[in-house]
């Protein structure tokens, strides 16, 4: 039951807005857009040697729902493993949960951004590891 309250709080007070150093090898950057409404979202993950996501930041130009989704997603992946982020699920839900609806593209934008950020991180890691291998 507390879950929905927590969620609503997220929408009211978005967290993790900002940018990380996009040139760092530890940072994966995902930039995605929603053609339906012209929203753009940049989401960055800072990942350490153990594959733990140490920090997550986002910058979204779009509607409130898109900003809120970004906030929720970054908060969920912080401190988690890369594997967790790849298989992102937002947990078991209490019964009878009812919340306002969300635009479809807003609900997927953050997820797509996470996937894109992880792909960018992998590419960087592969490039760094290539010469020593």
């Amino acid at each position: 039951m507390a879950y929905s309250d927590k969620l609503v709080d997220h929408f009211e007070n978005p967290r993790n807005m900002g940018v990380l150093d996009k040139d760092s090898d530890e940072v994966g950057t995902g930039l995605v857009g929603a053609p339906a409404c012209g929203d753009v979202m940049k989401l960055q993950l800072q990942i350490n040697d153990q594959g733990i996501i140490e920090d997550a930041k986002f910058k979204t130009f779009g509607c409130g729902s898109a900003i809120a989704s970004s906030s929720l997603v970054t908060e969920m992946v912080k401190g988690k493993t890369v594997e967790y982020a790849e298989n992102l699920e937002n947990g078991a839900i209490a019964e009878e949960l009812s919340l306002p609806p969300v635009k479809i593209h807003c609900s997927v934008l953050a997820e797509d951004a996470i996937k894109a950020a992880l792909a960018d991180y992998r590419r960087k890691q592969a490039a760094r590891n290539a010469p020593t291998a």
């Binding site: 857009g33 012209g38 753009v40 409130g64 479809i104």
Partner: protein, 189 residues
């Protein structure tokens, strides 16, 4: 052309929204072709005055006020017909919506449209959005420049279509215009 069907009330053949025989309004199609219901031919180039004229003429036949004394079923059909006409006018009068409609059959991109523009363009839009926070005038001016380029491309595409070309490239251009529009309008804040 509107298909010939059978009037649901008097069973006589009927063409158009209202039966010429018994005066009953016919069930509206769920997804009518928007130009056709106004009696126009699909075209990217339009004359707004002509569209309004067509809309007025069509509305006079099917508006619920014409069926004030008819059954609730007929009044509801009249409402649906008129709502279709009003949507058709709105879509056709709007340059962007008309273009989407002609290119894809829908006046706006689908919610599930995942076609991402090329990364360089997206980066450019992101930078423009960032710039907008600091120097709105400069950001809007640059976005307008990109916008007119895309609009010219779009017009060229529709012209080539008239000579037998396809509109396959239209959604990509329209998508880019959508991103630029949010920069110019200040997004959704």
């Amino acid at each position: 052309m509107l298909a010939v069907t059978q009037c649901w009330q008097c069973r006589e053949p009927v063409q158009g929204p209202v039966c010429a025989g018994c005066g009953a309004i016919q069930p509206p199609p769920a997804h009518p072709e928007l130009f056709t219901i106004l009696g126009l031919s699909p075209s990217y180039t339009i004359d707004r005055k002509a569209v309004d004229k067509a809309w007025r003429g069509a509305s006079r036949k099917v508006h619920p006020d014409r069926f004030a004394g008819a059954s609730a079923v007929q009044r509801r059909m009249a409402l649906q017909w008129t709502a279709h006409l009003n949507r058709a006018r709105k879509v056709i009068r709007d340059d962007t919506q008309r273009a989407w409609y002609l290119a894809t059959g829908s006046e706006r991109p689908g919610e599930r449209d995942k076609n991402q523009p090329d990364p360089a363009f997206l980066e450019q839009v992101f930078e423009l959005n960032m710039l907008r926070a600091e120097d709105p005038a400069a950001a809007i001016e640059r976005a307008r420049g990109l916008q007119s380029t895309e609009q010219e491309r779009l017009s060229a595409l529709f012209q080539s279509q008239a000579q037998g070309g396809t509109l396959d490239g239209a959604p990509a251009i329209l998508g880019r215009l959508n991103y630029l529009r949010t920069v110019i309008d200040g997004g959704h804040e």
